[in-house]
């Protein structure tokens, strides 16, 4: 096994957490090595310039890794959900939609609010400056002044141009007397930081080859590399090693190009492999950092139900950025509704004619045969989607473990996922479906199809909620008590003082909206704290609570 010189900081994973950590620490002059099991996804790799781009969305650019089965992917042993992730430089930012709302102050205080989830060891107010700075770092668009969130500075670029479906949805919400606001987005509406403004191609769900959406391989990673960070691609980490004192000493990884095992020693290790990959790697490393038995537990995905609706007026929802506007009308807990937590409504475009005909969102394809073209004339360009994304409760039994039957291409045990929605969350989703039906009525839709992601039980039992798991959250949550959390409030492992976990697994609750902005803000906060305390961390024998 080759033995390179130890680096100051070894970062495992190059998504939002890993990229921001690498940038901050490299700019501080530290020797940073980042290991990424995938490769680069170059602009020319995206299918946006090809006529088969929609077929690619369902095959090579399929976000569900178990269906995509790319060389860098690992299998996920689960029938409980459809896990979505992307293994490449920049992680999920290669295929996310750049939807960038912040969490709400109450998201950090669910313990105090209702007690079915813990409080975070930090507040919204503590995180707010980092939200502001990551907006500028990554480049966002949006409109300040939303009464449904605390005050914030203006985004670096104005809101994205509203598409036809956004105007219609706004009118419908106005008729209902419900809140709405232009959706904050990590997509540029004007040239910024050397990247071009969005040209409204509408194919956000296949990533953004222009870099208008903050795809980290085009936005942050060039800066991190220029600052001296070293990024090793095709490097699948097998285990994190520790010494006799229990401190991390580095990681063994498989160089996927050669198949050789290699060793990367480091003074500090940062794990940033997402809420499935991170617990998997800790479990593969002899149950590392898990004296609390919390590693892998409390997996969250958000609750999701959706409506696909069609109006008489043309909306041409294949044009413009996929996200339109957001409504926080039902975002806060109101016990009178019969559940705790809340949800946001998010308007969404529809990709192109092929995807619309296949019924990608509702799961109901257009008719075949002689009725097809009549359906197409009536529906194409007249439909859009509204998602209701809610906060699912963290539950210990919803967890990532190691599969006893599946391995990846390097022989490492695959992650196994158990996920079942809480009764509270099912009540939330039923309420949200009713609200989506009201939106459709308010919009004057001539047709609406609701999607509840319930899978019937062939044996006649209750249907199961099998979510499209876009958002992988929890599984190594931070906290104030080593007995009930994996890290302290600075993302530092309670058990291994020179091991940090800086990714979506750190989240204590999931909020009720897309988490990327919160993951980024947390990463910046944690990375700067690590930068400022690195000398202490290099010597630490125990982890302090604050």
């Amino acid at each position: 096994m080759a033995a390179p010189a130890p680096c100051d900081v070894l970062v495992i994973g190059s998504g939002i957490g890993g990229a921001i950590t690498s940038l901050v620490l490299a700019e501080a002059g530290l020797d940073v090595v980042c290991l990424e099991q995938g490769g680069w996804t170059h602009p020319a790799d995206h299918p946006h310039g090809r006529s088969d781009w929609e077929a690619e969305r369902l095959t090579s650019w399929q976000p569900e890794s178990n269906r995509r089965r790319a060389a860098a992917d690992y299998p996920i042993d689960t029938a409980a959900e459809r896990t979505m992730l992307w293994n490449a430089v920049g992680g999920a930012t290669n295929i996310y939609a750049g939807i960038w709302p912040r969490f709400r102050p109450s998201d950090f205080r669910k313990g105090r609010e209702h007690g079915l989830a813990p409080d975070w060891p930090l507040s919204y107010e503590e995180l707010a400056p980092f939200y502001d700075r990551t907006d500028r770092l990554l480049g966002t668009s949006g409109l300040a002044g939303d009464p449904a969130w605390p005050p914030r500075p203006a985004c670096p670029t104005p809101p994205l141009p509203p598409a036809g479906h956004g105007r219609q949805l706004a009118a419908a919400l106005d008729r209902l007397g419900w809140h709405w606001w232009p959706l904050p987005s990590a997509i540029l509406s004007a040239d910024y930081d050397g990247r071009p403004a969005c040209n409204g191609c509408g194919a956000c769900l296949l990533g953004c080859p222009r870099g208008s959406m903050s795809k980290l391989s085009l936005s942050l990673w060039p800066k991190a590399l220029a600052a001296g960070a070293r990024l090793q691609t095709e490097a699948r980490v097998e285990r994190i090693e520790t010494d006799r004192s229990g401190r991390a000493t580095g990681a063994v990884y498989v160089d996927r190009a050669s198949g050789l095992r290699r060793w990367q020693p480091a003074a500090i290790v940062v794990l940033a492999a997402n809420a499935v990959g991170t617990p998997r790697l800790l479990l593969l490393s002899d149950n590392l950092a898990n004296s609390s038995d919390q590693v892998g537990r409390n997996l969250m995905h958000h609750t999701l139900v959706a409506a696909e609706l069609w109006l008489d007026q043309p909306v041409d929802a294949h044009q413009g950025a996929i996200g339109g506007l957001i409504s926080a009308e039902f975002a806060e807990t109101d016990r009178a509704r019969g559940f705790v937590n809340g949800f946001h409504l998010i308007g969404s475009g529809t990709l192109g004619a092929g995807i619309q005909a296949t019924g990608s969102l509702s799961g109901v394809p257009a008719p075949w045969g002689n009725a097809h073209h009549a359906w197409f004339r009536r529906h194409f360009g007249h439909g859009f989607a509204v998602l209701a994304m809610g906060d699912d409760l963290p539950q210990p039994a919803n967890r990532v473990t190691l599969s006893a039957r599946l391995t990846d291409s390097d022989g490492l045990a695959a992650p196994a996922i158990a996920y079942r929605s809480h009764d509270n969350d099912r009540r939330l989703m039923r309420f949200a479906l009713d609200r989506l039906a009201e939106v459709a009525t308010g919009a004057g839709a001539f047709e609406v199809r609701l999607q509840d992601y319930l899978l019937p039980d062939p044996a006649g039992g209750p249907a199961s909620y099998v979510p499209p798991a876009w958002h992988l959250l929890g599984t190594c949550r931070m906290g104030s008590d080593p007995a009930s959390s994996v890290t302290n409030r600075w993302h530092q492992s309670w058990d291994v003082p020179n091991l940090y976990i800086i990714d979506s697994s750190s989240l204590v609750t999931g909020g009720a909206a897309n988490p990327a902005s919160t993951i980024a803000a947390l990463a910046l906060r944690a990375a700067e704290h690590l930068r400022d305390h690195r000398r202490d961390v290099r010597q630490a024998r125990r982890t302090a609570a604050s």
Binding site: R104, F108, P158, R210, A357, W368
Partner: protein, 163 residues
């Protein structure tokens, strides 16, 4: 994955199988005066390649066997009978049929002649999202911001236990 083929690559399917695929996609997506029939824009070749990619060389044979089991082959049958065969295929082989339908739709809507038909309906529609995209008028606060500013949040200090 393959893009739509405008010329039949003979390696993908022997003539009899190609004719059967052409008949199938024309049942799924017939022409109507504006929209062309699927086989006329080569959807059968796209479907053949998708079958090959998903199931290997045996895929085409499995499809032909399934069609025969539903009353096919389609070639040689009257149009109404072809529809009945495909209805039986959809009923008896729902997973296979769903895959065929999805591939046929995705192949069809990448054909230039179909894009032209969509544009003829009055929609701005490009063969691919890039490089041109769909530029929209920029956000105008006077026109595009909420006129009634609704909404609320609970600040951290205001959060109290719910009854």
């Amino acid at each position: 994955m393959a893009q739509l083929l405008d010329r039949p690559p003979l390696r993908l399917a022997p003539p009899a199988a190609a004719a059967e695929l052409a008949a199938l996609v024309d049942v799924l997506l017939p022409g109507d005066g504006l929209f062309p029939p699927a086989a006329s824009v080569g959807v059968q070749w796209y479907l053949a390649e998708r079958l090959r990619a998903a199931q290997g060389e045996a895929g085409l044979g499995r499809l032909q066997a399934a069609l025969a089991g539903a009353g096919g082959p389609l070639t040689g049958l009257a149009p109404a009978t072809r529809i009945s065969v495909v209805e039986r295929l959809a009923e008896h082989e729902p997973a296979l049929f769903a895959d065929l339908r999805e591939a046929s739709y995705l192949g069809y809507y990448q054909a230039p002649a179909v894009h032209a038909a969509i544009r003829a309906l009055g929609h701005r529609y490009r063969a691919s999202p890039q490089p041109d995209g769909y530029l929209l008028p920029p956000f105008d606060p006077a026109r595009d911001a909420p006129r009634v500013r609704r909404g609320h949040y609970r600040a951290t200090a205001e959060i109290r236990p719910h009854a």
